[in-house]
C-alpha cells in the first residue's frame, strides 16, 4: 500500500489584518469579515518566497518521514508564484535537501491546485514502482492587486508531503481528477497581478469542479460523506468551503479541523495541502480524510487517505500547522506590507 | 641591513576633493614629499591603494603615477592589504633601502573615494571582508566592527561612552590639524545622539569617506646625516596576518595580527610599549582604537575602553594616541592612511606638529590595519 510517510507545513511570521487593508482603500472591513469570513492573512518577508518556504516545509516532512534524502526519487513544487519564470524551483529544493542528483524534478503550475498536482504525480510514481519516495510541495506567495478583493486573502505558506510504500502515516486509498477549460482566474505572461471573473469564479468554477471531483472520488471509492472523519476543500475565502461542504452533505465539524483560511488567508497552491497537514496533526489511527483541491482554469484533484498508527509517533517530530499559525506572529501596517510585497514604486 | 630614515614627508588637505582626480591628488602630495626631502628624482616607488579599481575603475596605477610624477622608467609597484596598503608600501620601501638595492624610495598611498555613490563605496570597502562568507550575508565594515564592539562590551564591560570618548579625543586632536578633513571638536553627547550605522556604532564612531594621499621619501640614514637634516630612523617594522573572516577567530575581540606585528616591531627596535612617546593607530571605528591599544600592549587586555576615559591617550596624557586626529577626524582615504601615519610621526619627531606637538617626542609608533584586522603593519620610528 502507498501513502504519506512524512508531512510538514511552513507559514511566514508576518500577518496583516483585514481592517488594516480595508482602511487604506476605504472599504468596509466588517462586511469583508462577515462576507468572506477572513480576519487576517500571512505575509512573506522580503527574503521568503515559494522556494524558501518549500525547503522549510520539506525539511519538516523529512523529520517526520525519517528517511535518507538521497532515496527521494522525485521532487515536485506546485506554485503560481515560482520565483523564476524560467528555471525550476524544484532544483533548489532538491539541492537544499541533499536529494540530488538522481532525482526527477518538476515545477507545476495550475493556479491553486498546483500543490495537489505534484502530490498526484509523486504518489502515482510510487504506486507505479518507479521511485521509492516522492516529495511534493504546494507553496505560494500570492499577490492580489492593491485594492482588489483578492488582496484580503492572497497569502503565503507551504505544505510538503513525502510518499512511500512503508511506514505510512496515512494510506492513499483513492485519487481522482476532474478538469474542464474554465477561464475564471488568470495571469498573462509579464503581468504582475492576476485578473479574475468576479462571481464567475463561483458556481461554474469553484463549486462545479469541487463537487465534480468530490462526487467522482466518493463514487470510485464507494464511500459517502458520513464515511469521512474529515474533509478539506480549497479555501479561497472562509465561506466557500462550508458552502460546498453543505452542498455535498458534509457537516461543519468535518471541515473545521482543516479550515485555516480565516487566520491564514488563501495560500493558493498551499491552501488545501496545508488544511491536510493541520488535519493530520489532530487525526487518530483509522480515521479517514477526503481532500479536494481547486485550481482556476479549472480543475480539482481529490484524495482519500486513511490514517495509520504511525501518526502517533510522527505527529510531533515537527511543528504542528496550527501552532505555526497561532504563535510568533508579527502584525504589519499596510505601508510595511506594501514595501515587503514590492507594491511601492522606487527609483532604480 | 642598512639603517633607514625618512627624509621627506608630504600630505595635502584631505576631504571631498571634487575637482581633483586620483593622479592629481597623488602627484601634488608626492611632490611635497620630494620637496621636503630636497630630491627631484627617486630610485623606485611603492603606492598603497586598496581599491582604485572599484573606486575609480583604474588599475595599473603604479605606472600611471610614476609617469605623472615624471619618474618613468623607475620601478613602481602598487601594493594592497586593504586599509593597511599604505603601511605595506612603507615596509617594502624600508626593505628595499635596508637591503641596499635602492637609495631613494618614494612610499605613498592614495585613494579617491568620492567618485562613486555611498552604496558603491560601502561595497568597495566591504570587499576587504570575506566576500563569500561575510559580505554575502549583508555585513558591512561598520557592521564587522560593531560585532567586535558588542562582544567587547559584553566581555569586558566597555561602555558606549568609552567608545564615544575615542572619537571626542581624536576630533580634539584633529581640530589642531589643518590638513584634517574634519578639523573641529565634537562632544560625547553628539556622538551618542548621532545616527545609528550598525548598532551599537553610530556615524560619529566611524571614519569618513575621504579623498587623499600621503607620501614619504626614505633613504639610508647615513645620507640624511650627511645632508645635516633631522634623522628620523625606522627602527622597527612588523607585518602579520589573521583570518580575513572575523568569525574564524578564536576571540573576536582580540586583534592577533596587531599583536604579532607589534611583537616583531618591538623586537627589531629593541623597545617596549612604555618606551614609546606617541602612537598613531588605525581608528577606522572607535572600537578599533580600543582593541589596538590592547594588542599593542599599551594597556592590558580588556582595558582599552578605559584608556580614553582616563585620558592617558589624550594629547597631554601619558601616551598620546592619534595626535593627527586619527582616521576619525583626519579622514580615511584607505590606501593612504598608513603613510599619513608616518607623516604625522615624522612631523612630531621633528617637532613640527604645531599646536598638537607632543613635548620631547623621540620615539613614535604607527599601527595600520586592513579589513577587520586580517592584516596589520606596525612601524617604530626614532629621532637620532
Amino acid at each position: 500500500m502507498e501513502g504519506i510517510i512524512g508531512y510538514g507545513a511552513y507559514i511566514p511570521r508576518n500577518r496583516i489584518k483585514v481592517e488594516e487593508i480595508a482602511k487604506v482603500w476605504g472599504a468596509d472591513a466588517p462586511s469583508y469579515k462577515r462576507g468572506l469570513m477572513l480576519e487576517e492573512k500571512s505575509v512573506p518577508s522580503p527574503d521568503q518566497d515559494t522556494i524558501t518556504m518549500s525547503v522549510e516545509a520539506a525539511k519538516y516532512a523529512l523529520k517526520r518521514a525519517l528517511i535518507d534524502p538521497l532515496e527521494i526519487g522525485a521532487v515536485y513544487v506546485g506554485s503560481e508564484s515560482h520565483p523564476y519564470a524560467v528555471k525550476p524551483s524544484g532544483t533548489v529544493l532538491a539541492e537544499a535537501l541533499g536529494a540530488t542528483p538522481e532525482v526527477h524534478t518538476a515545477d507545476f503550475e495550475f493556479a491553486c491546485k498546483a500543490g495537489t498536482e505534484g502530490m498526484y504525480v509523486a504518489l502515482s510514481l510510487v504506486k507505479a514502482g518507479e521511485i521509492k519516495y516522492g516529495l511534493a510541495v504546494g507553496a505560494d506567495t500570492s499577490q492580489g492587486a492593491p485594492g482588489d478583493a483578492l488582496e484580503y486573502s492572497a497569502a503565503a505558506g507551504a505544505a510538503a508531503f513525502i510518499f512511500g510504500r512503508e511506514n505510512l502515516i496515512a494510506k492513499a486509498v483513492e485519487s481522482y481528477s476532474y478538469m474542464t477549460d474554465t477561464p475564471d482566474f488568470w495571469r498573462r505572461e509579464y503581468q504582475y497581478y492576476p485578473q479574475h471573473g468576479g462571481r464567475f469564479t463561483g458556481d461554474p468554477s469553484y463549486f462545479k469542479h469541487i463537487i465534480g471531483a468530490a462526487k467522482g472520488i466518493m463514487n470510485k471509492a464507494g464511500m459517502k460523506p458520513s464515511d469521512f472523519n474529515y474533509v478539506i476543500f480549497h479555501q479561497p475565502n472562509g465561506k466557500f468551503p462550508f458552502r460546498v461542504g453543505k452542498m455535498l452533505g458534509f457537516e461543519k465539524r468535518q471541515i473545521e479541523p482543516g479550515w485555516l483560511v480565516n487566520k491564514l488567508g488563501n495560500t493558493y497552491s498551499g491552501s488545501s495541502p496545508m488544511g491536510l497537514t493541520a488535519t493530520l496533526d489532530i487525526s487518530e489511527p483509522g480515521e479517514k480524510i477526503l481532500i479536494v483541491s481547486y485550481g482556476s482554469g479549472a480543475g480539482s484533484d481529490a484524495f482519500v487517505f486513511e490514517v495509520t498508527k504511525r501518526i502517533d509517533e510522527a505527529r510531533d517530530l515537527a511543528p504542528r500547522t496550527r501552532d505555526l499559525l497561532d504563535n510568533n506572529k508579527n502584525y504589519l501596517e499596510y505601508g510595511v506590507y506594501a514595501k515587503f510585497r514590492q507594491k511601492i514604486r522606487k527609483a532604480d | 641591513m642598512r639603517e633607514v630614515a625618512v627624509i621627506g614627508v608630504g600630505m595635502t588637505k584631505w576631504g571631498e576633493l571634487w575637482k581633483k582626480s586620483l593622479r592629481t591628488i597623488f602627484v601634488e602630495t608626492a611632490l611635497l614629499a620630494m620637496d621636503d626631502a630636497g630630491v627631484d628624482r627617486i630610485d623606485s616607488m611603492y603606492v598603497g591603494s586598496m581599491s582604485s579599481g572599484l573606486f575609480v575603475g583604474q588599475e595599473h596605477i603604479a605606472s600611471m603615477l610614476a609617469d605623472y610624477l615624471g619618474q618613468s622608467p623607475v620601478p613602481s609597484a602598487r601594493v594592497e592589504t586593504a586599509c593597511a596598503s599604505g603601511g605595506l608600501a612603507l615596509r617594502l620601501g624600508f626593505m628595499e633601502v635596508a637591503s641596499g638595492m635602492s637609495d631613494v624610495v618614494l612610499v605613498s598611498g592614495v585613494e579617491k573615494m568620492t567618485d562613486v555613490s555611498g552604496y558603491e563605496a560601502t561595497y568597495a570597502l566591504g570587499s576587504a571582508a570575506d566576500q563569500e562568507y561575510e559580505g554575502y550575508h549583508g555585513i558591512t565594515f561598520p557592521g564587522l566592527y560593531a560585532l567586535i564592539a558588542r562582544a567587547h562590551m559584553e566581555k569586558y564591560g566597555t561602555t558606549r561612552e568609552q567608545l564615544a570618548l575615542v572619537a571626542v579625543k581624536n576630533h580634539c586632536n584633529g581640530s589642531k590639524n589643518p590638513l584634517a578633513q574634519f578639523p573641529f571638536e565634537i562632544t560625547v553627547d553628539s556622538v551618542l545622539n548621532s545616527v545609528l550605522v550598525a548598532d551599537p556604532l553610530r556615524i560619529l564612531d566611524c571614519s569618513p569617506i575621504t579623498d587623499g594621499a600621503a607620501a614619504a621619501i626614505i633613504c639610508p640614514a647615513e645620507m640624511v646625516r650627511k645632508m645635516n637634516k633631522p634623522v628620523i630612523k625606522i627602527i622597527g617594522s612588523g607585518h602579520a596576518t589573521d583570518t580575513i573572516a572575523l568569525s574564524s577567530r578564536k576571540d573576536i575581540t582580540w586583534l592577533e595580527a596587531t599583536y604579532q606585528a607589534a611583537k616583531q616591531a618591538y623586537a627589531m627596535a629593541d623597545k617596549k610599549p612604555e618606551d614609546i612617546n606617541l602612537i598613531e593607530v588605525h581608528d577606522c571605528f572607535t572600537i578599533a582604537e580600543i582593541c589596538v591599544l590592547e594588542a599593542l600592549g599599551v594597556v592590558k587586555r580588556g582595558e582599552g575602553g578605559k584608556a580614553a576615559e582616563d585620558e592617558i591617550t589624550f594629547l597631554e596624557g601619558k601616551i598620546p594616541v592619534n595626535t593627527s586626529g586619527g582616521l576619525k577626524a583626519k579622514g580615511h582615504p584607505v590606501g593612504a592612511t598608513g603613510v599619513a601615519q608616518t607623516v604625522e610621526i615624522v612631523k612630531q619627531l621633528r617637532g613640527e606638529a604645531g599646536e598638537r606637538q607632543v613635548k620631547d617626542a623621540r620615539i613614535g609608533m604607527a599601527q595600520n590595519m586592513g579589513g577587520s584586522g586580517g592584516s596589520t603593519l606596525v612601524h617604530i620610528f626614532e629621532r637620532e
Binding site: I51, P83, V92 | Y119, H137, G138
Partner: protein, 130 residues
C-alpha cells in the same frame, strides 16, 4: 554582473552547511579547507554543521550595500553552532530590542539577495530565534 558560477560553486555550503574536519586535530572548517592551519595536515573529511546554536555577537545594519537595501535594517550576528563552529549570518524574524548575546537560534533557508531585477536569486542560511 558576475556569472552564476560564483554563486553555484558555493551551493553545498550555502544550502547544506557542508564543512570539513581535520582528521588529526579534529577542528572543523567552514567553508571547507585543503590544509589544516593548526597542524598542517592535509587529510580532512567532510562533515555537516549543526543547525542550531547561539548568538555570540550581533549588530543591526542600517546602511547596507545596495543588494540589501530592500531588507534594511537587518540584524547580522556571529553564531556559535552547537558543534563549536562560528559563522556569520543574518538573524531574522526577531525584534531587534529582544536580541541578546547567548540567545538560542536555529537555521532557516532564505533568499539572501537578488542580482538586480533580472539576475539570479541567491539563497542560503539565515538564523531565527529557536
Amino acid at each position: 554582473m558576475t556569472t552564476p558560477s560564483r554563486y553555484w560553486r558555493e551551493i553545498p555550503q550555502r544550502y547544506r552547511l557542508e564543512a570539513n574536519k581535520c582528521k588529526n586535530c579534529e577542528i572543523t572548517f567552514f567553508p571547507p579547507r585543503l590544509i589544516c592551519p593548526q597542524c598542517k595536515n592535509r587529510e580532512l573529511e567532510p562533515i555537516k554543521l549543526a543547525e542550531t546554536g547561539k548568538i555570540l555577537t550581533y549588530t543591526v545594519i542600517r546602511v547596507p550595500p545596495h543588494q540589501f537595501v530592500d531588507q534594511a535594517p537587518y540584524a547580522v550576528g556571529i553564531i556559535e553552532l552547537d558543534d563549536g563552529v562560528k559563522i556569520t549570518a543574518q538573524v531574522v524574524d526577531c525584534d531587534f530590542e529582544d536580541l541578546k548575546i547567548g540567545q538560542r537560534v536555529r537555521i532557516e533557508f532564505r533568499k539572501i539577495f537578488q542580482e538586480g531585477e533580472s539576475g539570479i536569486l541567491c539563497y542560503g542560511y539565515k538564523f531565527v530565534p529557536e
